[in-house]
């Protein structure tokens, strides 16, 4: 297998310097070292330096496409530059076999005041495409870019999208053994991106070794055979693309989860005029009660020893002590397998008797509301509550896809207008991809789409009809396996 590898990277490390002046000074020193052959190859960090890449090893065979993923600053672009031979490694060895070309910069060397046509030749020449080849393929390039009418216009009058289209069209003429691609596909309008993706698919099947940097995990899952996950210059995982993508997404969610936990309450309470009116009404009732000593008030009986409510602190009335999420086995947890039963428990303390409070749980993903378990819809609970208590809301087979979710809680008064508590995030939880095999995952972007697409999974049936044929030629029922 190693024999066929067009790209072989063995224990490669690269260091960078954080400070500009110092970096330039090191550059001068390195240069002197290089000239007098004394460049120290032992990998030692000098002050202010860090490993941009550390001990990276992998191989890419002909016909294979490798996706590089990782957060910003993980070292993806550095790795690509090393493979391209733009910079030298500080240790380790890179072996590239065959012609290497890079799809890194669109429209390299474009001169703004020259025409599109002139720039095509310049750009092609920089990329190593001969004039003869461009002469032959110019019509294809122009057609692919879709800007026939502007070929003799100076490039400075192009929109940025048009420039990118022209640049990409030239790049499609590359025919190397090894192709390096750095996130250039996210340009142009949707139709052009579609074109680019098709082109990528053609390239993928053309028996090259391709290395592909992207932030789009969809592209990695759909196009790449293997993936390399970098973090702070080190390899976290390297293997089958779909496995890596799955683990990477899982990791990202875990991170999002701990971040949202660290944030705590995300929603500020809001005092509406309705709330204010509610409290004022209660206060005046109380005063009446106090002065007249009447005992037949339904809202505030005599024994209701309530402190005077502060209209700016609504939580005085009903305190939420804690909120718990429990699974079917009554375990408190914050991670649940796909399609599991979830129960939300709200422990409260009512400082005085409250008639028919309405509890509302709003489920959110990335600040977007997904659904509500709301007594504003469902109706009343007990006639009144007072002192300590607990409300439980059980949701069977929660149909949410693997993601991080928040639960927002607010309690309203019986007529539904006044807030009795501050509206706030009371819990967050994560749906993992455990038990995800309960639904069919046969599509090319299944893992990604389920994770990054819409948050709700609903069973459905697909039927295909041919022509006028009244009977479906194929029916696909997609749902949960119980």
């Amino acid at each position: 297998m190693e024999e066929n590898a067009l790209v072989k990277v063995e224990g490669v490390s690269k260091k960078f310097c954080r400070k500009l002046k110092r970096s330039l000074w090191y550059g001068l020193k390195d240069l002197t070292g290089e000239i007098v052959c004394l460049r120290n190859s032992e990998p030692v960090l000098r002050p202010e330096e860090f490993w941009s890449l550390k001990d990276v090893s992998f191989a890419v065979k002909r016909g294979e496409m490798l996706g590089l993923i990782g957060q910003n600053g993980a070292g993806k672009s550095t790795l690509l530059k090393l493979l391209h031979g733009l910079i030298n490694p500080d240790s380790g060895k890179i072996t590239m076999r065959g012609r290497v070309q890079a799809l890194i910069e669109l429209g390299a060397g474009f001169s703004p005041i020259l025409t599109g046509r002139e720039n095509v030749y310049i750009n092609a020449s920089i990329l190593g495409i001969s004039k003869k080849q461009i002469d032959q393929t110019l019509p294809h390039i122009i057609e692919f870019a879709g800007i026939e009418d502007f070929m003799d216009t100076p490039v400075q009058n192009y929109s940025s999208g048009m420039k990118a289209r022209l640049g990409f069209s030239v790049i499609t003429q590359l025919d190397p053994d090894v192709l390096l691609i750095d996130e250039v596909l996210a340009v142009g309008d949707t139709a052009f991106q579609e074109k680019c993706m098709r082109r990528m698919d053609v390239l993928r099947k053309s028996n090259k070794a391709i290395i592909f940097v992207t932030h789009s995990l969809y592209q990695v899952e759909a196009l790449c055979d293997k993936a390399l996950w970098l973090e702070k210059g080190r390899i976290v995982q390297y293997g089958e693309a779909s496995d890596i993508v799955r683990d990477y997404l899982d990791n990202q969610e875990r991170r999002a989860m701990s971040e949202s936990q660290a944030e705590g309450v995300t929603y500020e309470g809001r005092i509406t005029t309705a709330t204010r009116a509610y409290f004022t009404a209660m206060d005046s009732e109380k005063n009446t009660v106090d002065s007249a000593k009447h005992g037949n008030d339904s809202l505030f009986p005599k024994q209701g020893k309530s402190p005077s409510p502060d209209p700016h602190n609504t939580s005085d009335l009903l305190e939420i002590i804690k909120v718990e999420l429990v699974d079917a086995e009554e375990n408190v947890c914050s991670e649940f397998p796909f399609l599991s039963d979830i129960t939300v428990r709200i422990y409260y303390y009512a400082k005085r008797r409250i008639d028919r409070p309405l509890f509302n749980l709003r489920f959110l993903n990335k600040d977007r509301s997904i659904f509500e378990a709301s007594m504003l819809i469902d109706g009343y609970g007990p006639d009144w509550v007072e002192g300590q208590g607990m409300v439980e809301c059980e949701i069977p087979k929660l149909p949410l896809t693997p993601k991080v979710y928040n639960i927002l809680l607010f309690v309203r008064s019986s007529e539904g207008i006044a807030d009795l508590t501050t509206m706030r995030t009371v819990a967050n939880f994560r749906i993992t991809d455990e038990h995800i095999e309960q639904v069919p995952l046969l599509g090319p972007m299944a893992v990604n789409h389920l994770r990054q697409g819409s948050p709700v999974y609903i069973p459905r049936t697909w039927r295909f009809y041919n022509g006028e044929c009244p009977k479906p030629i194929k029916t696909i029922e997609v749902g949960y396996e119980s």
Partner: protein
Amino acid sequence: MSNRILQETVYTSEAKLRTPFKLLICMFKDLISSRELAWRLFVRDISTKYRQTALGYFWAVFPPLMQSLVFILLDSSQMLAMEETGIPYTAYVIMGTVFFGLFTDAMNAPLKLINASKTMLVKINFPREALILAAIGETLFSFGIKLVLLFITLIVFRVPIKPAGLFAFIPLAGLLIMGIMIGVLLVPAGALFHDLTYALVLVNTALMFSTPVGFPPPKEGLLSLVIQYNPLTPMIMAARELLIKGTSSYMTGMALIMSLSLVLLFIGWMIFRLALPIVIERMGG
């Protein structure tokens, strides 16, 4: 397709000078493969340079004209007590500034082109020699325009040119080589620290007055000593004398400096190659 022999490229941290033979082969291979790109870059830069100007090629002859004007003004007010030049002073000065312009253009071009191509350099691996070839091309092109100015001047002032004057191309080539050599040697440090770009402007002016551009070499004084040891002196003087007289007393100095420049140019090229990955690493992008 897959059974053809694939070229293997290896990148390591080892200093490339440890395998000098391999380095030489790579250098010449890249030089040859860079011709087409060099031509493209040359055409691009020339057309970009003059397309968005109203005066066009005039800007190539503007600097030597201005410099000449300064000398002519100085001379007319008798501030330069100089020896007889043998030909009308205006023709003498324009000849000097045009030749000197060839040198300074050549010296400034490589660094200028490298800095202007930064975004390309940090993203794409093309034969870097193309930039130097393009720099040479641009220098020659602008020199060609200046030559037109020179010939018009010579005709206007009725300065006769000897057929042997054609040999002036040798010291002129020397000036070009010297300029490019210095320019290439400046690239590594100049691309890292922009101080050099600023310093070059001053150096140009200082050089002009310590080179016999607007006056013949003086016989005494501190300046005469500076001019005597200035490697540009034999080049400029040889070119001028060959063009006017057909012979020159500076031939030995010229030959010596030219061969030294060629050797240094080769060393500069080698350093340029070794330096670029290091420079690019620090350029960011």
